[in-house]
């Protein structure tokens, strides 16, 4: 076995999948927003909604194309670089990927054509229906991928037969409790990405004092959606942590840079984990029982440390530790921006507060960074296991 080839294969998969996730996370949110816009346009007849719709539809089209291109080549790597995995889990993962094609891609492909070229060819109601179907397609695509990844994180509903995972309970796979906290977490992340990109564009136009009516719609709807969804997202993030504590204690220990078993546990806020010496340098630590409270909702829960896990089963510590903290920091910054922005907007002062507009304009990378670091935490923290 060639360890350099292994490293390069992992790099390649990490590179393609990181590049890919940027685009779907944007289009899933955007598709849902386009549906709302088209519905509002039909209901109110206001032309500004239609103008905004046409504008974002074009951007959706380009982003969607790049998402598809980067996604398709990714799956080939299961055959070329990870064939042993494909042989073992193809009965489950291959089936799930075909479901994605059958349900999501077919819906998207059929109705996206109507969206782009059918405005003057179909009835307005059917056009709205087509928009909703594209949005449903993107959501279904995310669903099947999350089923797939959740099964890799916490495999359920299968039996091993001569080294091959044979599914024996699809209901268990589709209703895995892990999936139903991870799928909403990803979906909300996508909606927030859409919301922040739209709000940032609105803020940009407002700063340049162009397209005032459209900019106001973008800013108002983007900020409002974010203000509602960020707290829900934080809740689902917390629920995600609970499944990690339960099913993947080594990942949790790495995220928290916790070396010894603690009961009740303290919480390392910031540090430089020194893996060789099994300790944290420059640590800022919150006292017990805050660690137990954050990880297990309890004042006296015991939390596992890395010392009680054999080192050959450790994930890398530094990457999940920092990726997780960057994700949370992005989430907090988005919460502050969404709430302050919505408040100032309700007070009708947002067009005068140029500093706030600048901050909102510059905030568009935040959801992307949060999604990438969140996935780094999930995937690097799962190592050394692939399933």
């Amino acid at each position: 076995m060639d360890t350099t080839a292994l490293l390069l294969s992992r790099l390649q998969f990490a590179f393609t999948i990181s590049f890919h996730i940027i685009y779907p996370s944007f289009t899933i949110g955007l598709a849902a927003w386009l549906t709302v816009l088209e519905g509002l346009h039909l209901a109110t007849g206001r032309p500004a909604y239609r103008v905004v719709f046409e504008f974002w539809l074009k951007i959706f089209g380009v982003t969607f194309g790049m998402g598809v291109v980067s996604g398709i080549v990714m799956a080939f790597q299961f055959g070329t670089n990870w064939s042993v995995l494909a042989r073992m889990s193809g009965g489950i993962q291959g089936v799930l990927l075909s479901y994605e094609t059958f349900t999501a891609f077919f819906l998207e492909a059929s109705f996206f054509g109507i969206l782009l070229f059918g405005r003057s060819r179909v009835a307005p109601g059917f056009y709205l229906f087509s928009t909703a179907m594209v949005a449903l397609g993107t959501t279904l695509s995310a669903f099947w991928i999350m089923v797939n990844n959740s099964w890799m994180q916490v495999p359920v509903g299968y039996v091993m037969d001569h080294g091959v995972a044979v599914p024996d309970d699809w209901a268990a796979i589709l209703f895995s409790p892990v999936l139903w906290v991870r799928f909403p977490h990803m979906l909300l992340a996508a909606y927030l990405t859409g919301a922040f990109c739209v709000a940032a564009t609105g803020a940009w136009y407002m700063l340049r004092q162009t397209y005032a009516a459209e900019a106001r719609i973008m800013l108002r709807m983007g900020l409002f959606l974010a203000a509602v969804l960020v707290p829900v997202q934080l809740l689902f993030g917390h629920l995600n942590g609970e499944y990690v504590v339960h099913y993947q204690p080594s990942k949790m220990a790495a995220i928290e840079a916790r070396w010894k078993d603690e009961k009740p546990a303290s919480e390392v806020l910031l540090a430089w984990p020194d893996v060789a010496q099994r300790r944290n340098l420059f640590a800022i630590t919150l006292p017990a029982p805050l660690g137990s409270l954050i990880d297990s909702d309890s004042l006296d829960a015991a939390e596992v440390g890395l010392n009680s896990i054999p080192p050959e089963n450790w994930p890398p510590v530094v990457i999940p530790f920092f990726a997780f903290r960057i994700m949370v920091a992005c989430g907090m910054a988005m919460l502050a921006l969404a709430w302050i922005g919505s408040y100032v907007n309700i007070k009708r002062r947002i067009e005068q507060s140029r500093l706030l507009l600048w901050l909102i304009f510059l905030s568009f990378p935040l959801p992307f960074i949060a999604i990438l670091t969140g996935w780094f935490t999930a995937e690097v923290g799962r190592q050394p296991w692939v399933v």
Binding site: M1, D2, T4, A5, L6, L8, S9, R10, L11, Q12, F15, T16, F19, P47, R50, V51, V52, E54, F55, K58, I59, G61, V62, T63, G65, M66, V69, S70, V73, T80, N81, W82, S83, V84, L85, M88, S89, G113, L116, F117, R119, S120, T201, W204, Y205, T210, Y211, E214, Q383, P384, W385, V386, V387
Partner: protein
């Protein structure tokens, strides 16, 4: 299953290096142009030609959506802006 055991056993370093480099080159190429397209769309901003279909766009060349401004004649390229 460990990640190390999941890899194709006969994959050579040379093959993995070449494919990684090709992936990087193709992705950079595609995504540089994609980002440029999106930036141009954002620069152009929403245009209020209501009632007009996107006449510059033709279904057999979907990316023409991003290329032309609505209202411009088909094939009339505005470059260098």
């Amino acid at each position: 299953m460990r990640t190390a055991d999941a890899m194709t056993p006969f994959l050579t370093t040379r093959a993995a290096t070449i494919s990684l480099l090709v992936f990087c080159a193709v992705y950079v190429f595609i995504f540089a142009f994609g980002t440029l397209y999106i930036y141009r769309l954002l620069q152009a901003g929403p245009v209020g030609h209501l009632g007009l279909p996107l006449i510059a766009a033709v279904p057999n060349r979907p990316m023409s959506l991003a290329n032309e401004r609505p209202g411009l004649a088909v094939g009339h390229h505005v470059s260098g802006e």
